[in-house]
Amino acid sequence: MRFWQKIFISTFILFFIIFDLGAYVLVSYSSNFMLSREIDGGVREQSVILSAIQTTILEVESVNMEASKDDVRLNAIVKPLADFYKDQGVTIALYRDNSLVYSNTPNISSDLLNSSDNKKNILNQKIDNKRYLFVASLIPSYNNLTLVYVKDISPIDTFSTNISRLFIILTAIMCVVIGLSIFFLLKRLTKPINKLNETTKMIAMGAYNERVLINRKDELGELGEIFNLMADSVEVNIQKLEKASEDKQFFIDNLAHEIRTPITTILGYSEYLKNALNSEEERILATDHLHVAAKRIQNLSVRLLDFAYMNDEINELHSIDIQRLFEILSNLMDLPLKNQEIKLETEARINELIGDETLILSLLTNLVENAARASKANATINVKAYFDEYPIIEVIDEGYGIPADEIAKITEPFYRIDKSRSRAFGGVGLGLSLCKLIAKQHHAKLEIKSTLGVGTSVRIIFTTL
């Protein structure tokens, strides 16, 4: 059962139980109240009639001593009174002991007559669909005479019936009015819940950009806002995960491609050497290709190990003597640069830096290698360390430069501006990605600026040191 249905039905039932219970109590209380008033009135009236009869009998007795014993005289005494009261819905009867002397009333119960001394017998009885009030008592000083007062009190029943009918009609009207109002109220109240439901379903099915719109200032409005916040963070995280997974897939695809090419080369040339009738010249060409391919796989494996190592956090950072760092760099790069006739100049305007020496060195050799790859013979590569707000190491070359639209992409794994040129120098396309990782480990920023035909500068800005 839906939430609104539950609330609807329970409210509905609860309301009618309370309403009808109230109505019942009200009706029965008021009819009891009216009855007791009627009884009081009846008793009073009976007393008036009683005393009137008594007075009249006394008066008649003063003339005739035996009047109270004479039924005909008593009749003459009572009848005018009875006639007078009959118009007011009151009838009376007079008994001597248990025998009727006078009556203008139809039904009288005999147990009324067993009254004692001064007590009044009161009875309220329904006869032939009519309710009567009986009040009986002995006439004082004439203890064998009993006066019975009968009043038609049917209006009390009529009143109860009418008021009950009224309540039934009222209940029916309420039923419609209350039912409709609760229904619409609940619909309105639970609308945000349905919206939340729908949106949650959509999000669960993968529409992470779905949001719920609840324009309310109550708890549901709050829930909507919090829900949206949650959806935001879910969406962001999902996007991150997707990006990470895409990156990983991209990396693996590229890696597969990077490995497949040299392997194809090795398989092809080894088979060629084995099967083909070839000249010395062809044999040298084939072995050259074999060598390069094997070298490429080797470089790739070294770089991949670097990558794996870089993905672990570095434990300790030490103070690095920059002068010494630059000397080691010059020594390492000396031979390869000499082959290309490229000069390396270093300038250390700051003395030290906090970091992992091996990693920083690896970063610098990568950058210098890249710079050398982009440079023509007799060019110079400058490596500077200086302080400008933060400690900075900068590698500047006079090479070809990088097209502006490629700068953002060059730190992606396996991205190469010029594939064949890079490979010719043994590049595997992971150098700058590695630099980026190393910089990240040092909480440093890589900033690449380049002008086509003029050169490139890469700045490592150690923002937190």
Binding site: R260, T261, Y269, Y272, N275, A276, E282, L285, H289, S420
Partner: protein, 223 residues
């Protein structure tokens, strides 16, 4: 020499693969022109006017599909040689009018066979192979030594054809069985030896059909 020698342009940016294809095509007697990117392909095509083009899809500047769409090679037949192995790319390549589609990595004898097949389709001339005093009319199944017809069994002729098409390449006995007898033939590899001996004798090719130690046989032809 085989007479259906062709001028084949190899467009492939990976130099080692490009060289590898070139070396093998040269072995069987084709002439090769190499191009390493889209731009070079276009200029080299104009200059050399090749008979057949082997085209890699992923090359710099203009990719292979693009080159075909721009009709850069006019009516010259193209065989795609690419690492793109999904069917959609294959269908795209063939729909563009390529004669064949070879997925890397491939075996060189497969490439040679496919190249031969395309060449036969575009130039249905009679293929004639001549060496020393022996002339083989490949399409007519006729072999002449010193101008006189030599009777060869069907099997012998097929073996000879395989050797000619893959000249200068050593073929193992198993491979020869597969290619000349068919994959469903389960024979002893010595059957090959017997047939080779007969071929040598009938065609006086003792100096050309060489036994290569541990490998098999090779028909050696001067390049």
């Amino acid at each position: 020499m085989v007479i259906n020698m062709a001028k084949i342009m190899i467009i492939e940016d990976e130099k080692s693969i490009n060289d590898l294809i070139m070396l093998h095509l040269k072995l069987v007697g084709h002439e090769c022109i190499q191009a390493f990117d889209g731009n070079e392909a276009i200029s080299s095509f104009e200059a050399n006017n090749p008979d057949l083009i082997l085209l890699d899809v992923m090359i710099p500047f203009h990719d292979g599909f693009e080159l075909i769409e721009q009709n850069s090679f006019k009516d010259t037949p193209v065989i795609f040689v690419t690492a793109k192995e999904n069917t959609l790319d294959k269908v795209k390549g063939l729909n563009l009018g390529a004669y064949d589609y070879i997925v890397k990595p491939f075996e060189m004898i497969e490439l040679i066979a496919r190249v031969d097949a395309v060449l036969r389709r575009i130039k249905p001339i009679n293929r004639i192979f001549s060496i020393d005093n022996t002339i083989v009319y490949l399409d007519e199944h006729v072999v002449k030594v010193n101008g006189e017809n030599v009777e060869l069994t069907n099997r012998e002729f097929e073996l000879l054809e395989v050797l000619i098409c893959n000249s200068n390449m050593a073929l193992s006995r198993d491979k020869l069985l597969d290619m000349a007898w068919g994959y469903d033939y389960f024979g002893d590899t010595r059957t090959v030896d017997v047939h080779i001996t007969k071929l040598r004798k009938k065609l006086h090719l003792e100096n050309h059909i060489k036994t290569i130690f541990k490998l098999g046989y090779r028909l050696e032809v001067l390049k």
